[in-house]
Structure formats: C-alpha cells, structure tokens
C-alpha cells in the first residue's frame, strides 16, 4: 500500500513539474511580457526599462528557475495589474472558490447518484431513458448559457435567488447548480453502469433469493461495490471544478480564483495568470492522487496487484 502511494506520489510530482515548465514557457515564449506590461503604444526605451526592472532581460531558463524557486518558498511573484503579491491575491480569493467547488460537487452527487440508481433499477425502462436524456442534454448545454438561463428563471421571473455576488449562502445556490451540472453526465453514467454490473453478480442473486427487492437491495447491497469507481471519479471532478470556476464566477460575479483569472488575463497580468494555471493544475494533480489512494484503500485488488 505504502509503495503504491509513493509511486503515485512520485508521478504526481513529475506531472506538477512538467506542468509548471509547460505553463511558464507557453506564457513567456508566446509573448513578450514587457509588451503586456507596457501596453500597445510602448516606446523601445520604455520596454527596455521594464525589462530591466522586472528582470525580463535574463535568459528564459534563469527566469524559470527563479520563478520555481519562488513558488517553492511561497513567493509567487508580484502582480503587475493588481500591484500586490500574487500569493496574497490567491490566498484571499481561494476560500470562495473552494466553497463553490465543494457545493458544486454536492449538487453533482445529489443529482447524479440517485438518478443513476433509479436508471439502473430497470435498464431500458422509461426511468432509464429519462436519466439518459438528462445526461445527453447536460453534456450539450453550454455552461455559461445555463447560468444565464438560471438567472433569468430563478432570479428575475421567479425571484428566489440573488442575481450575483457572494455574500450569503443563497448566492451560491445557482452557481453551484450550474457548475455541478457539468459533472452530472459522467457521474450518472458511471453509477448506472456500475450498479447494473453489480446487480448481475452472485451475491446479489443470493440477496434476491433471501427476499430483498428494489431500492433496499440496491442501496444496502449493490451500492457498496458500485460506488468505488464513482468515489474516485468524484475526486477527479472536484479537481476540474476549479478550472470550471472561471465561467461560473464571471457570470455570477463571485470574487474567487476563476474571476481573478479572467480579470488577470484581460489585464495582461502574466505572473498572476501563470500562477493560477499552475495552482489549478496542482489541485487537479492532488485530487487525482487522492482518487488513486482512495481507490487503493477501498479496493484490495489494487494495492496488492
């Protein structure tokens, strides 16, 4: 078990390093950060001065290791746009996004697991078709459009929820629904196929012969085994919620990391954008590692094999 975790941990570290490298070079080779700071009508003298001030005249590799060294010691650089340390910006915005991501994940769980179970109860019944329809629609609906439609429906036509902002828990209901809806198809389908497979196994036949039927059979016996892959996919989905927060937060005017990312991009603030991409990737890598560990802990076949 420990060996397995160490292996996965080493891979996660290697991926994190590669991602930091890729992000840095993509953002610093594709553009001249000095132009981004100085703006459209910069004179060569201004550009030279900016390069000197921010150390942009040094070789790319030196700047990369400088940045990486800073990241490892908690110094994420200075934001050109906000005139603040990037670490401070990220720290002040992170709690909102974490709250949003967790509530979105709850929405995903509350919708997709019961729906998947209901569909699995009778494959090819109308319940199954309904669940499939929900999955197909949720996959095709543009997330930002769903957000706007929700605002029109539930903030304006029937004014239940506030239009935008992040002051109370009521502000988080619609954004959490919109962000959570995008994971419903994957989690629902996995719950359904997992349950249908388990329902075919010998121990379920035994339970059936002892008189268990319908939902109790499903929830008390089958779910325990079918839920294993779902748990690890949920961890991965949680990792994706951070990247997905860009759209949701900008629609609902929530001051989290996603909105910070959009504003920093529009403000050409390369250090902040670079750090946010890296932070989102780190969260994803960490959630994947967690999923691997959870899987090994829950399923002896993985940690032994």
């Amino acid at each position: 078990m420990l060996r397995y975790i160490l292996q996965r941990g080493a891979l996660a570290l290697a991926v994190a390093f590669t991602v930091s490298l890729a992000t840095f070079f993509l953002l610093n080779v594709a553009t001249d950060p000095a132009y981004a700071i100085a703006g459209e009508d910069a004179t060569p003298e201004m550009l030279a001065q900016i390069r000197d001030t921010y150390g942009l005249d040094r070789p790319l590799a030196t700047r990369y290791f400088d940045w990486l060294g800073g990241v490892l010691t908690g110094n994420f650089g200075e934001s050109y746009y906000w005139n603040k340390p990037v670490a401070e910006l990220v720290a002040s915005r992170a709690p909102t996004t974490i709250a949003l991501a967790l509530s979105a994940l709850s929405v995903t769980i509350l919708i997709s697991i019961p729906l998947g179970a209901w569909a699995a109860l009778k494959p090819n019944s109308w319940a199954d078709r309904f669940a499939l329809g929900v999955a197909v629609s949720a996959q095709a609906v543009p997330n930002f459009w769903l957000g706007l439609i929700m605002i029109i429906l539930f903030s304006v036509t029937i004014p239940i929820f506030p239009v935008s902002g992040d002051d109370t828990w009521l502000h988080f209901v619609l954004p959490a629904f919109v962000l959570g809806a995008s994971s419903v198809p994957a989690v629902m389908r996995l719950t359904r196929t997992g349950l249908i497979e388990v329902m075919d196994s010998d121990y379920i036949r035994t339970a059936r012969s002892k008189g268990f039927r319908g939902m109790p059979l499903l929830t008390r016996h089958a779910m325990r085994n079918a839920i294993l892959p779902v748990v690890s996919v949920l961890a991965v989905q949680l990792g994706q919620k951070f990247g997905g927060s860009v759209i949701t937060e900008s629609i609902f005017a929530i001051n989290g990391l996603g909105r910070l990312a959009l504003e920093s991009i529009l403000g050409s603030d390369i250090p902040t954008v670079q750090m946010l991409i890296f932070v989102f990737a780190l969260v994803f890598v960490a959630m994947n590692l967690l999923a691997d560990i959870l899987n090994a802990a829950l399923d002896p076949r993985i940690r032994i094999g």
């Binding site: 991926v15 553009t31 543009p142 706007l148 439609i149 990247g243 860009v246 050409s268």
Partner: protein, 319 residues
C-alpha cells in the same frame, strides 16, 4: 467515456467473431455471404433513432452554413439604428421583416444566427482535425512501439489532462491575439487526449493480430504496417471520436467568445452573441435564449451522431 467497445479489430470481416455477430444481427438476410461491416452498419443505422436525429441536425446545420448567403434574409453586419432590439415577429411590437428580431445594433438576428453556424462549424471541424492529427499520431506510435515511447506518451497525456484547458486557451488566445485561426489552433492543440487514449488501446490490440504479423514477416517497415494494416482498422473509432470532439470544440469556442477572448465583434459567433445580449437579457431574453438554443442543438446533434455511430459500428451492435 472511453470507447474501447468500438473495437475496430473486431469489425474485420475475417474475424470469426465479427462474422458470427453479423449473421445474428440480420436474420432477414438471405444465406450467402455475411454482410460487410459497412452494410451491417447501414442496416443498423436505419433503426437507430438517436443516430438519425443527430445526423439530420448536423446535415441540416452544415447545409445552413454552406448556403448562408442564400438563406439569410438580411446582411448579418448591416446596422439599423431605427430598428434596434426588436422582438421576434410573433411577439408584441415584432416586425415581420425581422422574424427573430434584431440585436442592440439593429442587426437582423436570424441572419446573424445563420452566419453563426459557419463560425461554429468551421472552428469545430478545424479544431477537431488538429486534435485528431496530434492524438492519432501519438496514439498509434505509442501503441505500436510500446516500451519507453509508450511511457513517454502516457506521461504527456497525464500532464495534458492536469492543465486547466479553458484557462490556458483563454490566456494563449488573448496573448497571441484573438482571430478565427488562432482559436482553431489553440482549441485543437488542447483537445487531443481522447483520440490518443482510444487509438493507443486499439493499436495495441491490432498489433498482436495475425495479419499484422504476416505483414511484418513479409518485410513491411513499421511505417508501412501502420499505414496499410493499422490505420484502416482505426477509421471507424476515429470518426466516432471526431464527432464527439466536434461538439467539445464548438462548446470551447463559444465559451472563449462569451468571455471576450475568442471571436471578436462584429463577427456573429453564437457565444459572442450571448455575451452581447447579456446586458439586455432581463427585458429581451430572446437575445440570449436563441443563440444558446442553436449551440445546444448543434452540440446535441454531434453527440447523438457520435453515440449512434459508435453503436452501429461496434461488432456487438448496441450496448
């Protein structure tokens, strides 16, 4: 989500398994030879509702995109300050000249929606093709050669999956400068993982089959084996993924354009139209609802078509 069940190796007519299921699926066929995989797929397609609906939507939208200049009642760029934000013709205050109303600059909404199909499809097809080139190349190489090449490609896959795609695309498009071609390239370069996962697994399976061994024994180089023996067997899986990726790329473009880092005004991109209509959506919701419905129809069409193609080309029929 990984469609290993669309295993092209098994659709090979020389395989006994494929032949058996082919006979089973078409009892009404006269004895003679078992039908070819293509014939079999066509027979199944006739009874597949999702495939027919998805295919109809996609064909219809492609025709609309091609014949946009003939279909659009107005110039999609022509502004008319006297006819700003008219509601659709059937609503109160509607004007029969503008069936779906006008936008904040008095441009005919129907015409803009029709031209919007061009942008969505152009970017979707372009990006899905670029992703296909990258993903299939890497997948076939990793699957065929195995060993350290396979490990390296798999690592690349893990790293790519960790990157926040939308955010990276936003940053790159903004930095390089937004244009249709930049959006196509960036979205394409970031969406190759699905192709890689499926072609790699399929190549690994085909590589161990007899006809590949025969070609190798006959002295074919790896390049010849890949071109003549492996790629032809991957085509149906690649088409299925291409269809799904078409929908994914279209959604990615619309998100970028909505956030202001994709297609720029005055181009009629559906995502951008939703962003422009957002300011007025409380009083004029059709400005947001209509382009969203177009996007939804196009993407659901692509997904249904993909699901259907997977069902009819897989050796065991529907699953």
């Amino acid at each position: 989500m990984i469609m290993t069940d669309a295993d092209p190796a098994q659709t090979d007519p020389t395989q006994p398994h494929a032949a058996k299921s082919a006979v089973a699926a078409t009892d009404d066929a006269p004895e003679a030879l078992p039908p070819t995989p293509l014939r079999l797929a066509l027979t199944r397609a006739r009874g597949h509702g999702g495939l027919l609906i998805g295919g109809t939507i996609i064909v219809l939208l492609i025709l609309i995109a091609i014949f946009a200049p003939l279909l659009a009642p107005h110039d999609p760029f022509a502004q008319s300050l006297s006819a700003r934000m008219l509601p659709p013709a059937w609503a109160e205050g509607g004007n029969a000249d503008y069936i779906l109303g006008t936008d904040q600059n008095g441009r005919d909404y129907l015409s803009r929606l029709i031209y919007g199909a061009r942008i969505s499809l152009l970017i979707g097809l372009g990006a899905a093709s670029i992703g296909m080139l990258i993903g299939v190349t890497l997948g076939v190489i990793a699957g065929y050669f195995g060993g350290w090449i396979d490990h390296a490609v798999s690592f690349l896959l893990t790293a790519q999956l960790a990157l926040p795609g939308l955010l990276l695309a936003m940053a790159l498009v903004f930095i390089i400068g937004p244009s249709v071609w930049v959006v196509i390239c960036i979205v394409g370069v970031l969406h190759w993982t699905y192709y890689l996962v499926v072609t790699r697994a399929a190549t690994q399976r085909i590589r161990s089959l007899d006809f590949v061994a025969a070609a190798q024994a006959a002295g074919s180089t790896p390049g010849q084996v890949i071109r003549h023996e492996i790629l032809p067997n991957l085509i149906s899986s690649i088409i299925v993924i291409f269809t799904f990726e078409l929908g994914i790329a279209i959604l990615a473009e619309s998100s970028l354009s909505f956030l202001g880092v994709g297609i720029q005004p005055p181009m009629p991109s559906w995502g951008l139209m939703i962003a422009e209509g957002k300011q007025a959506m409380f009083y004029r919701p059709w400005l947001v609802v209509l382009p969203g419905l177009c996007l939804f129809a196009l993407v659901i069409g692509a997904n249904l078509l993909g699901d259907g193609l997977r069902d009819v080309t897989s050796p065991d029929g529907r699953n």
